[in-house]
Symmetry: C2
Subunit: 251 residues, 2 copies
């Protein structure tokens, strides 16, 4: 509970919110927390130590929640207006109940906080979420059926998803989300799921192949007696170069 005790460790009036998206097998989810005793949910986030950068704060907080290290975070938007202040009455009552001692209403955590929004995308089947001491649950939620959210967090998820969709039109994805060898339908599903719309088969593979990041293998995946699509893998060098310089994949 050190962040309630030691306000001197942290920056005032500015915090980090992490929208952690997870993809696996045609499903897009987001990692949410439910504070103990409440039936509303939040995204993962926290305060910034005076000794760390905002990116380090995002990584530290994510490691705490997911055990995952080395995720790549994208900033998508910073949120800041006086309405973002937590309701001190409500939160003080809630925190007193959890922690056993009353929190003064002028305590620093009740100020108006500017929040720097980051998002990342990982394979949710590889991540066992960890709840913190103040939380009842930490769960992967399907994007399509979000529960009741606290603060402006539903808007944050919407904005992060928009940013992710724009991002995948300009940078390759899939490396950590697909098996090493994958079929065209598998990577097609990945793009369709994130974009939330269906993409014409032939147009999709034509455009994706035109980027050069895929290598068609002389090998097929056996799905059924009449279905055995070719396997592909990423051209590591070209994939890395496109990660730096971008692709043009507007579908």
């Amino acid at each position: 509970m050190d962040f309630f005790m030691d306000s001197d460790m942290y920056l005032r009036n500015v915090s980090v919110d992490n929208i952690i998206f997870g993809y696996h097998d045609k499903e897009l989810k987001v990692l949410l927390l439910r504070p103990a005793g409440l039936d509303k949910w939040t995204v993962t986030g926290g305060y910034i130590k005076k000794t760390e950068s905002i990116e380090q704060a995002a990584c530290r907080i994510t490691l705490l929640r997911t055990g995952l290290n080395g995720l790549f975070f994208n900033q998508f938007q910073t949120f800041g207006n006086p309405k973002r202040a937590i309701d001190p009455e409500f939160t003080s009552a809630y925190l007193s109940k959890i922690m056993g001692s009353p929190i003064p209403k002028d305590y620093w955590i009740f100020d108006y906080f500017v929040s720097i929004g980051f998002y990342t995308l990982t394979d949710f089947s590889q991540v066992e979420p960890k709840k913190g001491e103040l939380e009842a649950e930490c769960v992967w939620w399907p994007i399509k059926e979000l529960p009741k959210m606290m603060f402006d967090h539903e808007m944050q998820i919407r904005e992060a998803l928009n940013a992710l969709r724009i991002h995948i039109a300009h940078y390759p994805i899939g490396y950590e989300l697909l098996p090493k060898k994958f079929t065209m339908p598998e990577i097609h599903n990945l793009y369709e799921t994130i974009l939330g719309k269906s993409l014409d088969d032939r147009n999709f593979s034509k455009r994706l192949l035109a980027t050069g990041i895929l290598v068609k293998l002389d090998e097929r995946k056996k799905i059924g007696p009449h279905r055995s699509p070719f396997l592909y893998e990423f051209d590591q060098n070209l994939y890395d170069e496109k990660l730096k310089n971008g692709v043009d994949l507007v579908f």
Copy 2:
């Protein structure tokens, strides 16, 4: 000088930096300040009042510097790491000189500040910059010949310019930067100047016309005895719609 006196008015540890780009007749500039007694420059920026949103802070600070109201700001990146703290020794000596009384080294403005970067684009020929009390100069500088910059401000300008270049591939520009009726070479110059590269004439006009935002008029501009290009204007409705929903203008 109220922001030095009244730290209670402002958020701690978080501020706004505005990269104000100006375009006119094939020139791209940025608005810079030179603090009195120094030969380094900064972008315009300032602290956030507890009663205002970060966007309101960006607008208030810009109005102060330029007299311009109602500019549209885009967030492009938030910068935050412990190295951003101002050197208290240097700044205290400098401020003491200007203000006549010493500033304690543990004063709030010397903390590590997270800075929210905004950019905007306006017609520099319409704006007479105003210097503040602590500044020697406030000037439009050509992007191509930036002077020696303080802090991480040169990087901020570079990142803002990248963001502006990506932005104009997805959203129409020109409405406040060109005459009401303009020629294809005039809007071509605008795009070339901002993108910092030359664009093939025919390809440019073909792609721009395909967006539908231009209306070709039955009217020509007389430039010389053998040059009288057609005039165009923006289709206001389509322009506004594309401002909301985007265009695809990768050149």
